[in-house]
């Protein structure tokens, strides 16, 4: 057994089937080991894109990994790691470092890709990870690897492992079976007290409602949430970061809550609730729709990060899953009781009648897309208007919604589609990406083609950074106008087209459906100032 093989074995045991990255000389020995393993190496065009792909992969499979060379690679991928840190994604970063024998002691010369400070990279990674280590001592490496991987999966944060070239082949102990205790053990007394306090408050409520967020998924508490909702009949809204944790078919589902920036129906229910049960919602400006929240803490029960707060009291060491389970037991059965509010699926009952010659508008595009969604898709909304609109689509059962809704790196969705498709091969990714975001990471369409994948990519070309235009317009929001739809030809696969009318959109969607195994690239031309409903609301609020 060697340190390199040990690390690979542990990644395999954790369920990793693919690793993303760009090769570089300090990491080639390790790449050779990867090529010989059961893990498939997926090379991207640049490192940042590898990080985004691995992030999406990790969100679906519970672990993702990116492997790069020292310095140039590790610093290029950093933003995706910071994103994974902020959004709590279990991402493993492996950086192949120069030989220790050339780094320690008097050096005959400086090594390319390095800074004078030999630990700068480690120190930088410490700021954006749950654990950052250099595997300098082969004897210690198994402990460090196991510790880092456990931190990654338990804390849902990225970790950094630097493996010097001359340590890759160094002998170390055999790995035993993988033992990671993922369960959070709640304090039984605190759990009981929290559930009692919360249920008491909820039982006095005339208009209770639930706001559910992304931590429900991390806590593995989706089934418990559904059971609670079916049992109580509470109205339920999702946060934008958590879209998908609540099955949208549920009778009590009212859509995304985002304050005045979100849809009116959900806002009425959430802000109108006399007791609001917040389950796993991160209190961010994106989720709240503003830096000035409109929710009154005195009327809320808040469960987040192993803590439950009810009125003035705080209950510590209460796991979210246990809390939801206990609440269901403590609350009486009830029925969904929603007045005035339409279920989001209502929108689908209105038939979409394309007017072939009509110039496509933003509203009509999204209305049509709502009818295009199906089970087993992964819906990827890139940052900006596409994410906001996609979040208000009616998500079919067994479809996944994926975005970076809090940290908000433009350009995430195209490389993320690569990671998502490899993580869930039976699902087709639908990518919605604005022109500005697309220009950031466009080359990864090439890797999707290279891997023979079949996403449908909608580049929403409205001639600039539209969200920024709403807040503060200036020449800096303009972009070079590309002929986006020619890119599949450049990259050597799939097919592309440009869509300006409703008829052209129909034809493109039909072709995408018919050619189900091929990458479809649909450039959607929309007017610069034709704002989507969510953007108009944001502009007003």
């Amino acid at each position: 057994m060697t340190v390199g093989k040990y690390l690979i074995r542990r990644l395999e045991q954790a369920g990793l089937k693919h690793i993303f990255g760009v090769p570089g000389d300090y990491v080639l020995e390790f790449y050779d080991l990867l090529e010989a393993s059961d893990i498939q190496v997926v090379c991207t065009c640049n490192e940042l894109n590898a990080g985004y792909a691995a992030d999406a992969y990790a969100r679906i499979r519970g672990i993702g990994a990116v492997c790069v060379t020292y310095g140039v690679g590790a610093f290029s991928v950093l933003n995706s790691v910071a994103a994974a840190c902020a959004e709590r994604v279990p991402l493993v970063v492996i950086s192949g470092g120069p030989r220790l024998s050339l780094r320690k002691g008097p050096q005959p010369c400086l090594l390319h890709h390095t800074l004078e400070d030999d630990e700068a990279e480690l120190d930088i990674y410490r700021k954006v990870t749950a654990a950052a280590v250099i595997l300098a001592d082969p004897a210690e490496a198994p402990r460090l690897i196991d510790g880092a991987l456990a931190a990654c999966r338990r804390q849902h944060r990225p970790v950094y492992l630097e493996i010097p070239m001359d340590v890759v082949e160094a002998p170390c102990a055999e790995p035993g079976p993988l033992a990671v205790d993922m369960a959070v053990s709640s304090d039984p007394a605190a759990l009981a007290a929290a559930a009692a306090a919360a249920s008491e408050m909820l039982q006095c409520a005339a208009r209770p409602a639930v706001w559910a967020g992304e931590e429900v998924r991390r806590a593995g508490a989706q089934a418990e949430l559904v059971a609670l909702l079916e049992h109580t009949g509470y109205a339920v809204s999702s946060s934008i970061q958590g879209k998908g944790v609540v099955p949208e078919r549920l009778a009590g589902y009212v859509g995304i809550y985002r304050g005045q920036a979100g849809p009116e129906d959900a806002r009425e229910v959430v802000e109108g609730a006399d007791v609001l049960l917040c389950l796993g919602v991160q209190m961010t400006d994106v989720n709240l729709g503003s830096v000035r929240p409109r929710l009154d803490p005195r009327r809320m029960v808040v469960a987040y990060g192993d803590e439950v707060r009810v009125k003035g009291s705080s209950f510590l060491r209460v796991g979210l899953k246990d809390f939801i389970h206990a609440l269901r037991a403590a609350l009486p059965q009830g029925n969904v009781n929603l007045s005035r509010v339409k279920h989001p699926s209502e929108a689908l009952k209105r038939e979409f009648n394309p007017q072939p010659e009509a110039r496509l508008t933003t509203a009509r595009f999204w209305e049509r897309i709502n009818h295009f969604l199906e089970r087993r898709q992964v819906i990827l909304g890139d940052i900006g208007s596409p994410m906001l609109s996609a979040a208000e689509l009616y998500l079919p059962d067994d479809a996944i919604f994926l975005t970076q809704a809090f940290y908000l790196s433009l350009g995430y969705a195209v490389p993320a589609a690569l990671g998502a498709k490899l993580a869930a091969p039976h699902r087709r990714p639908l990518v919605f990406v604005g022109d500005g975001a697309f220009q950031m990471t466009c080359q990864e369409v090439s890797t999707l083609i290279r891997q023979g994948l079949n996403p449908v990519i909608f580049v929403i070309n409205n001639d600039g950074y539209q969200v920024e235009r709403v807040f503060n317009d200036g020449p800096y929001n303009d972009l070079q106008m590309w002929k986006y739809h020619l890119l599949p030809q450049v990259f050597g696969g799939g097919w592309g087209c440009e869509v300006k009318t409703e008829g052209e959109l129909e034809a493109a969607l039909a072709k995408a459906k018919a050619e189900a195994d091929s990458l479809a690239f649909i450039e959607v031309r929309l007017d610069k100032f034709d704002l989507s409903a969510p953007l108009s609301r944001m502009a007003k609020s």
Copy 2:
């Protein structure tokens, strides 16, 4: 006067005419100020590319700047800042931060683009800059700005300035005239002793030679170096990082020294010297051509970083410029005396006779390019084989050679061409970039087109990461095969073509010359295993 305006005034005073970046909501107010200033805002497709552009701009103009939004922008640009730190480039990074009023004290919610640790970004930048500050207090801001800009220019290192949104418009003191004392003051006694010791050693030498490096440019000592060389008649070689500091027309010039990885003539002179005068050469594996240097320190006089070493003695506080000047005074006049070694310009005397139907080879391509170079060009060699070959071209007078020869970030050259052309508008950039490097940052061709610039871009398509193939071949060195030459059509300007024969190359070069104001994009198809001379040497060594 406001903090935002103060910073802009100082940048103007330092000679900045362009700033590169990508807008984001935390930095839009500052972008509005920039738009109203004499500094032109040049928006790139993504932040990393903005950093590379600003780096090249700084190398030519003595200062460059990149302006991005907090988190997503600042972390995406980091690799270019680490590169500037390693390569000692005076690059100013401006990050627009969230309002202080929302960051300090009890926070109603987390802010998008941020990490929980409010100073993580600052701490990370401290590792790759000469100074990193948050302009939190408007009264202190002028002092912090002046200090950072002085550190940037004196130390030739990047600096980081974070300007929170609500500080941009905060009042502060008026800026006075810009006073940066750039001169290094040598210790007169140490200088005299160093010059005496060095000249004594050199006067005893039968075969003295000079090896000159990139610090000669930073020290502003190019004229002194030429005077010394013309006075003594010493043979002179350049380091690859320093290519261009020695005018290649000089009779004593023998080419680039890179140990066994470099050309034979220069190696013979440098390794055969009984005293080698190393002026401003960084001792790196790239400059030395190996991690095991073949130069004997006992036969060297080394001047680097305000220190001169002669045999066992070290002389501190001796500026490079002063030292070269003093050496000239201390050494007797002499004549160039080179036996066996051909001047690199000899290669140009052999006429290039294209054979129109002949399949283009790597050797013939570079031979032809050697004849294509002219005064007033900027030659940009991207990392890998193109950089190595371009470094062995004969550089005409008043041409600039630009690369990132030590830190070696693939993908540098295309965005760097943007910075170089804006920094030196009367020069035409020639970009030599491999397919692997090109895929990393390809979108910046669009910005070159958008700005109406006229580089000639040679994408050397040899189907993979060729340098890595030499060291360690594997499937990870393969790339998706693009139709690169179609990209100008996608990006909306310039023209592209594919070149497979010598005749096609002639036609493309003629067109590039005729259409001098247009971007030319020449895809050069070469065989996967057709190694250049420098690569063959590296493979052997």
